[in-house]
Symmetry: C2
């Protein structure tokens, strides 16, 4: 049988997510007819090796999207806002990693393991959710399907990769400086992150929540198609390179058996249960890095409320939190004959 191949453009090819998109396209043997690598003018002139072939970075122009089937965009919200409509007008479908269109009612916001059907309504733009939200949703949705979640109290431990490749470099450089008794320089992140941590520095709203926290609230409601779910979150940046962790307290309307929760999560798509009580071994960022699945463990009955469970998770922020989820959305387009 002839397998159809697709012309793909990566918008933001030089970033941490761009690099991961390319390696996941290869790993999963995505059917590619052509790969176009687009980035800002300052990267033009560079080439990137993809599957043995040197591909020149091109600047973004309207013609960049001619003939393209799928645009994988990870160059930030302003770039996505500038180019999405143009790409769509040329017949491409854009899978956008930025926050630009996530709350647009005409744009599906998709975690393939959670709400694959939402993709059917797409009008050219499909939004990839926030990384922290994707990881939490993979662990919470399988429970929510069985007994609806009333409220979540989340605290996050977010790696610097969420702020991009330059933030990862900054953590390394600051750490080296501190070990050499030098002042750490903060250029990408607002404060030194080496041997430190701080509340997520995205803009604060009038309610006192930062943008990252409100993404967890609003995107979960949209993905679960459950506007009544109540969520509070405290988002924190920690000196870890590329996997996010989350402490999640989940309230249901009635008790949810820990054993049932473990059984459900042991079979849930995109989840790997790491729940080794004998060894006191649970998910860690270094174990989650490079993995497709979100690692979930330490599922326990909350002793402070009979209707609550506590759980802990770690997931690769660049991978399932961004690049992998975007490529799974592209695969879903193919599976559902939407392209």
């Amino acid at each position: 049988m002839h397998r159809k191949k697709y012309k793909i453009a990566i918008l933001g090819a030089t970033g941490a997510v761009g690099a991961e998109l390319m390696s996941i396209l290869l790993e999963r043997d995505f059917p590619i007819a052509e790969l176009r690598l687009l980035a800002s003018p300052k990267s033009v002139g560079k080439t990137i090796n993809f599957n043995g072939q040197e591909i020149a970075i091109a600047p973004v122009t309207p013609e960049s999207f001619d003939g393209i089937d799928i645009v994988l965009a990870s160059a930030g919200a302003s770039v996505s806002k500038e180019w999405a409509a143009i790409a769509v007008s040329k017949g491409a479908i854009i899978i956008d990693n930025s926050s630009a269109f996530r709350q647009d009612p005409n744009v599906p916001l998709v975690v393939p393991e959670v709400n694959p059907q939402a993709i059917d309504q797409h009008q050219g733009i499909i939004a990839n959710p926030n990384c922290t939200t994707i990881l939490m949703n993979l662990a919470v949705y399988p429970l929510h399907k069985v007994k609806p979640v009333k409220r979540i109290v989340a605290a996050t431990y977010q790696s610097v990769s969420g702020a991009g490749a330059k933030a990862m470099d900054e953590l390394i450089k600051q750490t080296q400086a501190i070990l050499n008794n030098q002042e750490p320089k903060a250029e990408i992140l607002p404060y030194p992150i080496g041997f430190n941590l701080f509340l997520h520095n995205s803009p604060l709203d009038e309610q006192g929540y930062c943008a990252e926290e409100m993404k967890m609230v609003n995107e979960t409601r949209k993905i679960f198609n459950c506007p009544e779910i109540q969520i509070t979150a405290t988002c924190v940046r920690v000196p870890v390179l590329r996997a996010h962790s989350e402490a999640i307290n989940i309230e249901f309307s009635e008790p949810f058996s820990v054993n049932t929760a473990k059984e459900i999560l042991s079979k849930a798509a995109g989840v790997r249960l790491i729940d080794d009580w004998a060894r006191n071994y649970f998910p860690m960022p270094i174990a989650a890095s490079g993995k497709d699945e979100v690692l979930v463990g330490r599922i326990r009955q909350d002793i402070s409320n009979p209707n609550c469970l506590d759980l802990w998770l770690c997931g690769d922020q660049i991978r399932k939190g961004a690049a992998l989820n975007a490529i799974q959305i592209a695969e879903l387009l193919i599976d559902r004959n939407l392209i």
Copy 2:
């Protein structure tokens, strides 16, 4: 007026808390007649400089406590269990940093800003609470006094100093190894902590809580003298050297105004409000290190429950989390004419 001076013994003089006890005794000009430094036999032969004087480390024997007024113990629970009764039988008062006696109904568990009166019932042993608990209690108790707290959901970000001076060395060495592309060696902590984090590795109970988490539950109940307060906690070790951070969600029986909470905490003993919304600047471990106060900020109305507030805090684990609180207990003994 003649100021009475006291004979002090430090049990566990070579550890991270032992060193901090000595520097805080000096800083606060504690009235010392004599300082005896006690440690395990392997440290015997070493000397420590205290206020210009070289003091030899002595092994612990029953005679170590002869004539001593106050023992500041920070050598772990088994050492405290071995020596506390002997020290008391010799007429000393022991202020114990370990968990050995904290739940003993005959032993006051004291945070001087919270329950100073509890010390009056002492019978020779006074327990210094767990570090994470002390920091949380400083921030929560002033609110609890105004409207009783029903429930707390806490997630912690605990520095390696909580596992002692050797764990601090281990974080540094592992980080250097990782930066040099070598395997990090985990000898003190169970897993590599450099650029990583993991759930607190204290023993798990049959409910699924680790000992550190249950300290937050049981010690808070005892310190607040409020057995009905409901608490769940997730305790996490992070690659930070010496200050702990905590994300705290507090439920009251009715709404608690954010402005009132800020006003109360801006005046609370042992608390410094760091709540700069314009600059998006809130407490951080590097800002809390070396400070006496717990830094509290980002106090906000929880949007998921009208009766809840969210707040964030950082405090020096070795200082207010251990050594400073112990010395404040000693000062309280003097102030209340108990010694």
